[in-house]
């Protein structure tokens, strides 16, 4: 039975959490915390399956195709799992599981509103499902549906956040719908030129299409669609408010992973479908490059102005997404490897930072960095993780941020784009400024933290600073950043080389 289930893993990774999410409201009607446990269990199962899947993809060496409904690809929908999205699926399911674990203290199943935590967990699980589907599907329209699921669960999680949550969610809803419709228009144009929706089939038939204008228009729509979903520079209007007012426990997932997977989808479209010999690909990549460069500088500069912890992290996300877009616009092997590695490392970095911000909010209700004075005495582990993650964000060596910057810089220099290297350096210096400012306030500020009089959070074990269910994800995030840093050549050579080389 088990060995039989192995070759069904690509779809089971999406379907098992889907059952969990769908039944969570119903189960929680009977016993309040049962719904929560099913979701966490389902995500754990998905994580283990994704590791098995990644291992078998590396062993097999070539991509897996899973035909949904048994239909042959151009007629039915198929899942394509190769090296790149294998590792991204592991990332998404791992962070999804950790965020679900992390948010259990936030969503205690209180008696009078049992539905509240069940609803939260169901939406969070849908967000993870949408991201898993987004990164494993091989069909253009199916990608739109998964994008819509990610968007809707994003609106939900942002709306149940802080006081300004609904406003941020509403603005995100409007921009998100424009993005999704732009993507749909792009797919429509490609469909009008080729007649198929399957990505592999699309790539083959696009070779023979000679009328260039439709492809250019489709690319423009795709860039706008992905740009809005990724919060790339000119299209990032919704992102700062959405990330700083979202639900504190779901924020790591939203900020860490939700804006990264459309970047992977952009890679899938611009490298696997459009062949790079097209004349206008150069101009398309330079456009993405310019957007990325402006985004990096804008994000880093804007982050200097704010001292609300989440706002700084939100603006630095705009910069870091710019890194990923920069990697893709560089286009050679090192550029793409750097971009994918940055997707992984920045996901852990940003998720970890938002974990620490949520932990500060949970224990002391801290929103602003100048309330952080001497907190490290009471919360040593969280602040230790904060230090590790911030150093990695500024791109200092032993951590993962440095190595993805290394590949990006190497790709840029091999391409002769010295402006990109300069931008990488300037942005890491700018991010050093605002992260070391946080260190100054944290370690050297005077004591501004008042111990909460009644320990309102009885969930905290006596010895621990924050409930164990929150400490584990924080610890894992910091450890993964170090592990990714030191083990990055395994990822680049072992997993990415075969896939990316096949594409270039």
């Amino acid at each position: 039975m088990i060995s039989y289930m192995i070759n069904h893993i690509p779809v089971l990774i999406v379907i098992v959490p889907l059952c969990g999410a769908v039944l969570c409201p119903a189960i929680s009607h009977f016993s309040p915390s049962a719904g929560k446990r099913t979701v966490i269990g389902a995500l754990l199962a998905a994580f283990c399956m994704s590791i098995i899947q990644l291992a078998s993809v590396i062993k097999a060496g070539e991509a897996f195709h899973y035909w949904l409904g048994g239909w042959q690809p151009p007629y039915g929908i198929e899942f394509v799992i190769d090296g790149v999205n294998g590792i991204i699926i592991v990332l998404v399911s791992f962070i999804g599981f950790m965020t679900a674990l992390f948010s259990s203290p936030f969503e205690e199943a209180d008696k009078e509103a049992p539905f509240r935590s069940a609803g939260y967990y169901s939406i969070l699980c849908f967000l993870v499902i949408g991201l898993l589907g987004l990164s494993s599907t091989g069909d253009a329209f199916n990608l739109y549906v998964f994008m819509e699921i990610v968007a809707l669960s994003g609106y939900g999680l942002i709306a149940i956040g802080e006081k300004k949550g609904p406003i941020a969610a509403f603005r995100y809803l409007l921009t998100g719908t424009i993005g999704a419709s732009a993507y749909l228009l792009g797919v429509g144009l490609l469909y009008s030129a080729t007649g198929t929706l399957n990505m592999a089939d699309l790539a083959i038939r696009l070779r023979e299409v000679d009328n260039m204008p439709v492809i250019v228009m489709a690319m423009a729509c795709l860039i706008v669609g992905f740009g809005i979903k990724m919060a790339l520079f000119p299209l990032h209007g919704w992102q700062p408010a959405a990330h700083s007012y979202a639900h504190p426990a779901a924020d790591p997932m939203i900020a860490g992973v939700m804006i990264k997977i459309p970047a992977y989808a952009m890679f899938r479209f611009f490298f696997c479908i459009f062949d790079s010999s097209l004349p206008m690909m150069k101009t398309i990549f330079t456009i993405i490059g310019i957007m990325a460069v402006l985004g990096i500088l804008f994000g880093s500069l804007k982050a200097l102005r704010y001292d609300k912890f989440n706002k700084i992290l939100a603006y630095s996300s705009i910069g870091q997404v710019g890194y990923i877009a920069l990697g893709f616009s560089i286009g050679n092997f090192y550029g793409i490897a750097g971009a994918v590695l940055h997707i992984l490392s920045h996901a852990f970095m940003k998720t970890g930072l938002f974990y620490t911000s949520a932990a500060f909010k949970y224990r002391y209700g801290i929103h602003y960095t100048d309330q952080l004075g001497q907190v490290y005495r009471k919360m040593p582990v969280t602040c230790g993780a904060l230090v590790v993650l911030s150093l990695s964000m500024t791109g200092l060596p032993p951590f993962a941020g440095f190595f993805s910057k290394w590949y990006l810089a190497l790709g840029a220099i091999q391409n002769g784009q010295y402006l990109y290297v300069a931008v990488l350096i300037i942005s890491s210096l700018l991010s050093a400024i605002y992260f070391f400012r946080i260190f100054e306030r944290l370690f050297m500020g005077e004591k501004t933290v008042t111990e909460p009089e009644s320990d309102a959070h009885e969930g905290t074990a006596p010895g621990l600073e924050v409930p164990l269910r929150m400490l584990i994800p924080i610890g894992f995030a910091a450890l993964m950043v170090i592990a990714l840093g030191l083990g990055n050549s395994f990822i680049v050579n072992g997993i990415l080389k075969t896939t990316v080389m096949g594409v270039l």
Binding site: F141, V145, E148, L152, K164, P166, I167, F170, L174, T177
Partner: protein
């Protein structure tokens, strides 16, 4: 005269109007002050894209894509694929409208108004 208009519409007219409708939808979403009108314009934009797909799938003498015994051959029927896709898109647009209205009521509850100036005017950006 009629067939001149017909051929113009066939090649250029229908797509022109679809894109103008989409432009109007997005324009409405940006420039309308009232959040309710923004939702309506969002729906207008989604309808225009749905129509764009359906216009692609049209056939001159094709009948409805329901199988009839004596009619054989592919060009007798209209292309069913865009219809299936657009069913999904319409249901998604209903879902989005439902969530948007729930948000609208929540914003009304918090701010007491759904005019953008009154809400963003009080510096909610901080």
């Amino acid at each position: 005269m009629i067939d001149i208009i017909e051929t113009f519409l066939a090649e250029k007219g229908i797509y022109m109007m679809t894109f103008v409708l989409m432009g109007l939808g997005i324009l409405g979403m940006i420039s309308c002050g009232n959040y309710m009108k923004k939702i309506m314009c969002m729906n207008i934009m989604q309808v225009s894209i749905i129509f764009f797909f359906l216009a692609l799938g049209q056939k001159e003498q094709g009948t409805l894509p329901v199988f009839v015994e004596n009619l054989l051959g592919a060009d007798a029927y209209i292309n069913p694929l865009p219809h299936a896709l657009m069913l999904t898109a319409i249901v998604v647009s209903l879902g989005t409208t439902g969530v948007a209205l729930a948000l609208l009521m929540k914003i009304k509850g918090i701010y007491g108004t759904i005019e953008e100036e009154e809400i963003t005017g009080e510096g909610w950006r901080k």
